[in-house]
Amino acid sequence: MQIKRRTFLKGALAGSALLSLPLVFDSKADAREELKPYKPDKVTFNFCEMCFWNCTEKVFVNDGKVRKLEGNDKSPLNFGKLCAKGQAGIKTLYDDNRLKTPLIRVGERGEGKWKKVSWEEAFEFAAKKFKEVIDKYGPETIGLEMHGTGEPGIHRLFEVLGGTTNFAIPAYSQCTGSRDVGFYYTFGAALGGHEPFDLSNSRYIIMLGRNETESLHVSELYHFSKAIGNKAKIVYVDPRYTHTAAKADKYLQIKPGTDAAFVLALINVMVTEDLINHDFVDKYTTGYDKLKPHIAKYTPQWAQEQTGIKAEEIIQIAREISSFAPNCIIVPPRRSTRYGDDTQFARAIAIANVLLGNWFQPGGFFKPNKIKVPNADMPDVEESKYAQLAQQKNAANAVLSLTNLPTTTQEIVGVLGLDNILWEAIRTQKPYPIKAMISYATNPLFHTGDSNKVKEAISKLDFYMVVDILPWEHTLYADIVFPESTYLEMYAALKSIGWKYPYVNFREPAVDTIYDTRDIWAIAHGIAKHMGLGEFFPFSDAKGVLYSSLNQMPKDQRDKLLKDGVISLGPIPEDADLSGDIDPKVAYQKMLDAYKKAPFNPYPIALGEDVSFNTGSGKIDIYSDSLAGNSFDPLPNYTPPNKPKKQNEFRLIFGRVAVHTHARTQDNEWLLEHYDDNNVWINPQDAKSINIKDGDKVVLVKGNLKSLYPVKAKVTDKIIQGTVFIVHGWGRFSPYTTRCYEKGVSDAEFCSNDTDPLSGAAAFLNSFVSIEKV
């Protein structure tokens, strides 16, 4: 216990404790009570935008100011809870560094010199620029990247302008792309942003670098914590000892880039020792017969060489998890954009789970459910003259033409886009020039693998438009910056998300806009109107879009939403409770019986319903004909990670802390109190070899590139030898975000720009850096 203790009073206190029995003071002081009951003047409904889990919340307002944010306990998404980031949303609202008016660039790109303009001027300027680009190069040369709840608004503008498929949500190529493609090839379903992991009902959980407690999403973490309370066994595998490792029963420090070897060896043991769930495999899968000979070479002894994890450990874990099948899970990591073979790694995880038979089973993967909500009544974007022009030109997708992705992959890419390759297309201006680009609520100088290439790409643009709430680094390069209102100041279109318990989120402003900002629907509307396309935005802001949907809803549903701030169909009261001494089988059965009568069902396979899969075969493809047909490995093989070229070069890996979201919360005062600068984690043996001591100021070096600001070295055996770790989102160089300016080092400058050939998504961790003392 490391509580600070001043000792000089200790004697006296111990004396008093001995002399007096514990007693409650008979204090008249109860009457002097100055603390008045806390009551908000006003409560409004919202959902959090501090990260993309979008937890449902209530906003407590006192004296016209947002005083407190509280999770909405009626929401099955977060059960009344908010994380530190969510709680700190107030400080983003009241951040005086916010973008306060529209800005037009007057200096060079990167200088950050702007003039303040009115909204009318801003709309006119943007409209003029878009027209120029369309007239000169065609509508297909407009690009868009976007992230967050406002996506439909800006995407609609993009479509109305005749933008084709040159758009991206970074969540694919920078985060979940390879994982989702791997699952798509196996189950015919991507896992998506709200993962269907039934952690709370799981009895054995293996996590491979899925740092649940620090890359946290509220309900997922809550369910993970419930699993801890239920005494589920947790195995955590990572080159770095994280907070999640601290919660695991077993932590295995693995050599980076070798996770696939670990999983293939698990499969090997399951197959060799016949630990597989035959009922499930026989009924729902194809290709198991081909897996058997394929997996023979991936023995635990072989995996020990690759991973540094003992063969006996691997054998024991395979046996243990199989004994809990199907109520167990090997969690496919969320940001699996690591080493370029990530899709096959995801396939390996998918197949290992298939052998456990945990699809649509308690404790495995549940089936997401979604409530259908009416769309706002708006005209078809394809009627727009620019959309029709684009259609006539039938221009190829610039991004896809730079890749050789199989068509099945392209089905997913079509929905989410490839952000890394979009920037590469802009940089190279191939196969045709992309001349206008919009970044909505996402900062390409921090989410890509090589930010200097993005700077180069921006220099090729005729027009770069940014919409954001803070003057982050990419705004310095923008020709125009539109200031968006924060989520606490605006309405939003209805948001229905598929998860275990279906729900619909609702947002209304808690306070008036503090600065001269607008919501994304108002911004898109303004630009469209100035281009003579106003008819495609019949509503002048998000409120109009929201109420158009609400007005089409059945009355009882609408009333419920306005009264509770959320519509949800769960959880059902019979949800399994595995804490205490209850037999899990009994608990599961009770829950399944109840779900037979419930309006939604997360466990159709457990309930014996007919389930077919959106693969060519209608079954789960252990062996993928589709991959074979495209000359990719139809069964996952192991690709060893790359190696450093020189001595004393270290693999650079990055991750998160629980109190920051990516690169978007580093200016938040309350979150800065908990984490205000990153440092470089280095193993003691590595530190010794390059003569670095704990606390030394260092910079990262890669070729001619040196990190902007020195940071401290953290010498710790929590990181494996040969690897250095930094927290993502630092190395901030916008002088306008004053609280984090010049703090930390950015992984985005040093990561590799490689891609996974099967998904097209990034492979960030193939990069090596050296460390220099300053």
């Binding site: 509580i3 003071f25 002081a29 509280e70 914590s225």
Partner: protein, 198 residues
């Protein structure tokens, strides 16, 4: 089973912390800070989560330990207060500070074995956790409990056998308080599936 004979109170508010469910996400600290407008600055917290690194049987361990005022039944902070600003409520045992009676001598901060108090420059007085008494009176849970993402923090009345805290203590095979040797008789209890942590 009680640790010792507790004095009778109308309400016996208590916090039961399931220590192994704390994930060190800091939601409690930020929620508390927002709720009570605790001045910005690193050390000003009414509650915090300690990270403790240790090596056990050559295995690395990291333990997360939520701490807050224990609302002690024998509160050293109250004993040492020269003005009577620090006091313990008879009705529910919550220990409070009356800011305008506090002269800022910080004797209570020195006396507290749990480092649960801090000096609030804006108030010009020592400040501390109140178990969110003003929220309790409006039917809300303490802010830290309400938002605890791991479900580690639990709050309720030990006089009520059906309260979550009574149930947790009743079912726990292993519970403990911090620094029992100091004779403070805390009202924050810790339980764990795994070993006791001190």
């Amino acid at each position: 089973m009680a640790l010792f004979e507790r004095p009778k109170k109308e309400k016996n508010y208590a916090m039961v912390i399931v220590q192994d469910r704390c994930v060190d996400c800091k939601a409690c600290e930020v929620a508390c800070k927002a709720m009570w407008e605790v001045p910005d600055g690193k050390l000003n917290y009414r509650t915090k989560v300690l990270d403790i690194d240790k090596v056990e049987n050559s295995e690395r361990k990291m333990i997360f330990m939520p701490i807050l005022c224990n609302q002690c039944d024998n509160p050293p902070c109250v004993w040492v207060c020269p003005t009577g600003a620090s006091y313990k409520r008879k009705s529910d045992g919550i220990v409070l500070v009356t800011p305008n009676m506090c002269i800022g001598c910080k004797a209570c901060m020195e006396a507290c074995p749990y480092d649960a108090r801090y000096y609030n420059e804006e108030l010009g007085a020592v400040d501390k956790c109140t178990f969110c008494l003003p929220r309790l009176e409006s039917g809300l849970e303490p802010a830290c409990v309400q938002t605890c993402v791991g479900g580690s923090r639990n709050f309720g009345d030990l006089n009520d056998p059906n309260s979550v805290v009574s149930k947790l203590l009743k079912e726990a095979t292993n519970y403990w308080v911090l620094k029992p040797e100091d004779g403070t008789f805390p009202n924050d209890f810790y339980i764990s599936n795994s070993a006791k942590v001190e």
